[in-house]
């Protein structure tokens, strides 16, 4: 035994004597994680969260979250002598006088964008591969919670500097609060400590941004990861992979080195972006005043789809009995997003209700093998994208020399028309891909080699694919549709008839598939040749 091994042994012994951790550690240090590039997406979120905590802490040392009015006398000459809030002035100080301050601000903002992109792409991966199915529904809901909080946290974060752009964003948020029926103006006055903009809002959202929400994030992320750990990661189908096992690399040492290394890669890339890619140059916008606004005001992208929905809303307001209800704000600003996030959170339960599938799933679906789910996802994504496009309608109009009216009418029609089209096309593509898989397994892959037969016919030689590949392409199961009978065994009409009919209908749509190849079929073809 070398001296080093002896020391390691002693440390481990010391810890185990006091915690009894050896058994747990032994088991978990060799825990197996399956490998796939798409499993890194969640990791990117985790790492950018850590970067956000670190860079955010740095920023708090100089940032002054106050709307107290000051006269600017700092290093940025164009704003010299202007009245502004202490929040804005301290952000200028951070950007121009603190060494590395601008770098940290940009790293923080880029990390926030990466965090949100990571969450959305991770969510799409989990959705399209069916990783949310039993037993992982809790984690799906936590994930939807993290997405929602992330949008709020990001919005509060870029609102803090109190520049003209972000102040306009707060103004819009205030209008949404104010539009709430009955309690709107009261909640707005409580939130802002009086009329808009007041002097209370920035200090208040600062506490929420740096303490309350990060605390909730930390708690939710911890539970999210503990569940991943405890339930073991899902895996893609492949040779040797079943619902009963997990194939991959042990945590110690390779996975630990890869994951740890990946943290530094994410941090490095974020730092590079912070160094070379200017983001949110608040000194160009000027301090906030409610009487001004700049053309081309845009929220960050994760708010953009909401803004786009607000922009395309028809001018509907109800005035009755001395009261006003602003449908043009409530529908796109609160009701639609409320419905969308609720449906998103409930999706695992909706799907299992429709398929009647209550079993555990640890093998992922290839998206093409769940055409209905994939098409639904494409539909929701198209809806959101049309919203996002309309959120930038002013920029797009000027870039492509369109009128704002053309852009807006395109979006108003597209938001209804494109999502169903996306559903149909995606479902067709999925079924075509299934057909292509079937071809591949049955007839092998095209080699590009043409052979002339003795009687003059030209054929292309096909080569059979490997048994591993054939298995991967056929490992999924194809569920038969639920056929809930109209009458039960005793001949009595079952209750909830309409509900059952709907369920049958959805389940039939879900079960549409190109039959996968069986060994018998393959053999038949071989004999035929």
């Amino acid at each position: 035994m070398t001296a080093r091994e002896r020391i390691a042994g002693n440390v481990a012994g010391y810890v185990d004597d006091r915690t009894g951790a050896a058994k747990w550690m032994k088991k978990n240090l060799t825990k197996v994680f399956p490998d796939h590039w798409s499993f890194l997406l969640g990791e990117i979120c985790l790492y950018s969260f850590i970067i956000l905590l670190a860079s955010g802490t740095f920023l708090t040392f100089w940032f002054d979250p106050s709307q107290r009015e000051v006269i600017y006398d700092g290093g940025y000459a164009p704003l010299s002598g202007l009245k502004m809030s202490a929040a804005y002035a301290s952000t200028l100080h951070l950007s121009f006088e603190v060494r590395g301050g601008l770098l940290m601000r940009q790293i923080h903002h880029w990390a926030a964008l990466i965090f949100m992109v990571g969450i959305v792409v991770h969510l799409l991966r989990v959705f399209f591969t069916g990783a949310f199915r039993k037993p992982r529904e809790f984690n799906w809901i936590i994930g939807v919670g993290l997405l929602t909080l992330g949008i709020v946290e990001g919005f509060l974060g870029y609102s803090l500097p109190d520049d003209l752009l972000s102040g306009t964003g707060i103004r819009i948020a205030e209008a949404i609060i104010q539009a709430l029926p009955v309690v709107g103006s009261y909640i707005a006055f409580f939130a802002f400590g009086g009329a808009f903009p007041g002097e209370a809002f920035i200090p208040r959202i600062y506490t929420v941004h740096v303490l309350l929400l990060p605390g909730i994030f930390l708690a939710l992320i911890t539970v999210h990861l503990m569940l991943v750990w405890y339930q073991k990661h899902t895996q893609f189908p492949g040779p040797g992979r079943t619902e009963k096992n997990v194939v991959g690399y042990p945590l110690m040492p390779a996975y630990m080195a890869k994951a740890g290394g990946f943290f530094f890669i994410v941090f490095g890339v974020t730092a590079f972006l912070g160094a070379v890619a200017s983001i949110n140059p608040i000194w160009l916008y000027g301090p906030y005043t409610p009487g001004q606004v700049s053309a081309g005001s845009q929220p960050d992208w994760y708010m953009g789809w909401l803004d786009g929905l607000v922009r395309m809303a028809p001018p509907l307001e109800t005035h009755a009995l001395g009261h006003t209800i602003s449908w043009n704000i409530l529908i796109p600003g609160l009701i639609l997003p409320g419905i969308m996030f609720t449906l998103l959170a409930l999706y695992p339960f909706i799907e299992s209700w429709a398929t009647g599938d209550k079993r555990e799933h640890h093998l992922l679906d290839r998206p093409r093998n769940a055409p209905n789910r994939t098409a639904l996802g494409a539909m929701a994504l198209t809806f959101t994208l049309v919203g996002l496009i309309n959120g930038g309608n002013d920029i797009l109009s000027t870039t492509f020399h369109l009128t704002i009216n053309q852009m807006m009418w395109f979006s108003r029609i597209a938001i209804f028309v494109l999502p169903p089209i996306a559903f149909v096309i995606t479902k067709r593509i999925c079924l075509s891909l299934q057909r292509a898989d079937r071809e591949l397994v049955l007839h092998g892959r095209e080699t590009g080699r043409l052979v002339r037969l003795p009687h003059g016919e030209f054929v292309e030689v096909h080569e059979p694919i490997s048994p591993e590949k054939a298995w991967t392409l056929t490992a999924h199961e194809q569920l038969a549709p639920l056929e809930l009978p109209e009458y039960d065994a005793a001949g009595v009409r079952r209750p909830g008839l309409l509900k059952n009919k709907i369920r049958n209908r959805i389940s039939r749509a879900n079960a549409v598939a190109v039959p996968k190849v069986t060994e018998s079929e393959r053999k038949e073809i071989e004999h035929g040749h």
Binding site: Q178, A275, A295, P467
Partner: protein, 330 residues
């Protein structure tokens, strides 16, 4: 030919393929050197950061292609930091991929469901515990506990009441009164009708009495746009026309949709456009909404001139300005 349906079989885990570094010490040595080089690049990054921190002055700007004029200190601090971090990661991953064992391992999964026995025991324990507490047998305790818990939930609501004052008349009223002079923003100078040429736009605010301070809250309600057209361009009813003065018309600048400043005026079409959500208002028809999500015209301020010829408000706004709210009556 068999008629039995036989699914394709799982061929099982493919055989492990060794890497070159596993079999040839020469390649292993080479990978080791590569990892060392990556780590040294990281160290070089930190060195670059230190040197930049000490030697590049904070106000030095340099021209970089694509980026344009860039603060040199911030750029090199960032590049140094990016290198330092990135290459630690690259080194660690290269090390893991080439030199650490890459044998795939198989671990078993276990169903999460506990055995029926355990589940029964669990239910029994819960029932026994609840029974021991006697919640079911003592409804008085159950109900009073419910009341106490429910009421205690009011505490935070009550204590949060002082977050702000009640809205009262605040959303309904602005500072404009009959006779208030319109002054330029910025500058606070009163305006003569002749100061505005046809086609001109001016942002104005109510004149402050001596000793008064203007807050952002005031601007958020009081900002008014003055626009001068030819009087024959208007398409207004008699009342609204009487609110204008020699072709000068005044509107609240706060959008009736979500409160942004309606800042874009198109002289040719005489349209006002809100840059936030593109609501478009026709100035000639008392800011009627002709496009976009806004549901109401911008409130018009009745103006005239005082004895000295300066523009003044003829009356306060006839309706609340800014976005809608529940208590708004029209």
């Amino acid at each position: 030919m068999s008629t039995e349906i036989e699914p394709i079989k799982d061929p099982g885990l493919p055989a492990h393929i060794h890497r070159r570094a596993d079999e040839d010490e020469k390649y292993a040595k080479r990978a080791e050197r590569q990892v060392a080089i990556l780590f040294m690049l990281s160290a070089f990054g930190t060195l670059l950061l230190i040197v930049s921190y000490i030697f590049i002055p904070g106000d030095k700007f340099i021209f970089v292609p694509i980026l344009g004029s860039t603060n040199a200190a911030q750029l090199f601090l960032g590049l140094g930091m990016a290198m330092a971090l990135f290459f630690i990661g690259a080194g660690a991953i290269h090390w893991a991929k080439n030199l650490m064992p890459d044998n795939e391992m198989v671990a078993e999964r276990h169903e999460f469901r506990s055995s029926d026995e355990d589940r029964e025991e669990f239910v029994k324990t819960v029932k026994a515990g609840a029974g021991a507490a006697g919640l079911g047998r003592r409804p008085l305790i159950k109900r009073t506990l419910g009341v106490a818990l429910g009421l205690s939930g009011l505490t935070p609501l009550l204590l949060l009441r002082d977050l702000g004052p009640l809205p009262k008349e605040d959303l309904q009223k602005t500072s404009w009164k009959a006779g208030t002079r319109l002054v330029t923003d910025p500058g606070n100078r009163p305006i003569l009708a002749s100061d505005l040429e046809v086609g001109a736009v001016a942002q104005t605010l109510p004149e402050l009495a001596a000793g008064e301070e203007r807050t952002l809250n005031d601007i958020g309600k009081d900002a008014v746009l003055l626009i001068r057209l030819r009087p024959e361009d208007f398409n207004l009813d008699a009342e609204r026309l009487s609110w204008t003065h020699e072709g000068i018309i005044a509107f609240s600048k706060i959008c009736s949709h979500m409160g942004c400043a309606v800042a874009l005026y198109e002289q040719q079409t005489k349209h006002l456009l809100c840059p936030c959500h593109q609501s478009t208002f026709d100035v000639t028809r008392a800011a009627k909404v002709i496009f976009g999500p806004a549901a109401r015209p911008l409130p018009q301020l009745a103006i005239t001139v005082d004895a000295d010829g300066y523009l003044v408000a003829k009356a306060p706004f006839s309706e609340p300005v800014g976005p809608s709210f529940w208590e708004r009556s029209s």
